[in-house]
């Protein structure tokens, strides 16, 4: 009788602990801020391991390329990025976390790619890089890598507010033959499966991201285009105003998350 009593107690204790583990929220450390989780936490363990090791991470090859371009004088003025910005580790420390930014001269938002090309055409009198070219990816990956670990902190008030509203509207707008918005997957269903894929929150803190599917890094606009094609909508162009505004809104959604460039995802 007494043995039985102890056994019953044991079962009760076991039940309590198992419930405890079920309800204990997983600790994602720096990859979670409030209820926002980086895409890192949705990736497979093997994929995370590639990102964690700076040597194994193949996108570091592009970072190396970018660091060479940074020092390389080009254009009629004969200047390199380093001629003005000097050490990227200092000058570009917050850049990756703060773009897209409002450009008063243009009267609209500007993302990192456009800012680099503005510098090239206006200050260096050099040819602009093409979107998704090896040079552009090298440069953006390199620049944003300098901000690694900084908290995403785009400005969304003041003169930026109308663009932020447009980005938000784009995010919530259903589109394409499947009549789906960004929010349908990444807002309402993150953590659920879409066929064989786990839907993430669609955070942009790791871009340009090395996607194993692409076998190279790609910009956030490439990802937007892929998403838009998946819902059978006509994608917008690289660097289009619609996507830059969306980029701003998505960056705000991930506020506080650390910049992870170059991230590795499936």
């Amino acid at each position: 009788m007494r043995n039985l009593y102890i056994a019953a107690l044991g079962v009760a204790a076991m039940t309590v602990t198992s419930i405890g583990t079920v309800f204990a929220a997983e600790d994602y450390g720096k990859y979670q801020v409030e209820d926002r989780r980086s895409g890192y936490t949705y990736a497979a363990k093997e994929t995370q391991a590639i990102q964690d090791d700076n040597f194994e991470n193949p996108a570091m090859l592009w970072v190396d390329d970018g660091s060479v371009l940074w020092e390389q004088a080009e254009g009629e003025v004969g200047k390199a990025c380093a001629s003005c910005h000097e050490d990227a580790a200092d000058s570009m420390k917050m850049t990756g976390a703060e773009y897209p930014k409002h450009n008063p001269k243009l009267g609209k938002m500007q993302n990192l790619e456009q800012r680099i090309n503005q510098c090239r055409t206006e200050n260096m009198k050099a040819k602009p890089f093409k979107y998704e070219s090896a040079e552009m990816l090298g440069m953006t990956t390199f620049v944003r890598h300098q901000s690694n670990g900084q908290a995403m902190s785009v400005k969304v008030d003041g003169e930026v507010a109308p663009f932020f509203k447009k980005g938000e509207a784009f995010y919530n707008q259903r589109r394409g033959q499947l009549d789906m918005s960004c929010k349908n997957c990444h807002g309402d269903n993150s953590g659920n499966m879409a066929r064989a894929n786990m839907l993430s929150e669609g955070q942009s803190n790791g871009f340009p991201t090395y996607r194993l599917k692409w076998q190279k890094p790609g910009s956030i606009h490439r990802r937007f285009r892929g998403c838009n094609k998946n819902i059978r909508a006509k994608p917008f162009g690289y660097g289009s105003e619609e996507y830059v505004n969306l980029e701003l809104y998505v960056a705000w959604r991930g506020r506080g998350l650390p910049v992870e460039t170059p991230a590795v995802r499936n």
């Binding site: 193949p58 090859l61 390329d65 190279k216």
Partner: protein
Amino acid sequence: MAKVKARVKVPKKVAKGEIFEVKSLISHKMESGQRKHKKTGEKIPRQIINKFVCTYNGKAVFSSDWHGAVSANPYLSFHVKAVDSGSLDLAWTDDSGAVYKKTTKITVT
């Protein structure tokens, strides 16, 4: 990336007889031979790395034949036993016959 670049990483110092890890990464397209040109529809010929050899002070210590289904920008790590200080020469050979080489020094104490 048109230009192929290789990276190698070994520990700075290893004790004699110790087993150390060699990490390597090379930027290579690893064209599978399955893809077709988007506009002309012609098959893009296979262009992958098919052989990897690592020589340690002139002696081959690790080699492997590669076939299809290896990712682009392949990463490879393996272990070598430290014998003497000297150089590790890594060589990747691809279908075009081109050999990409990278050498690194190792100090054995």
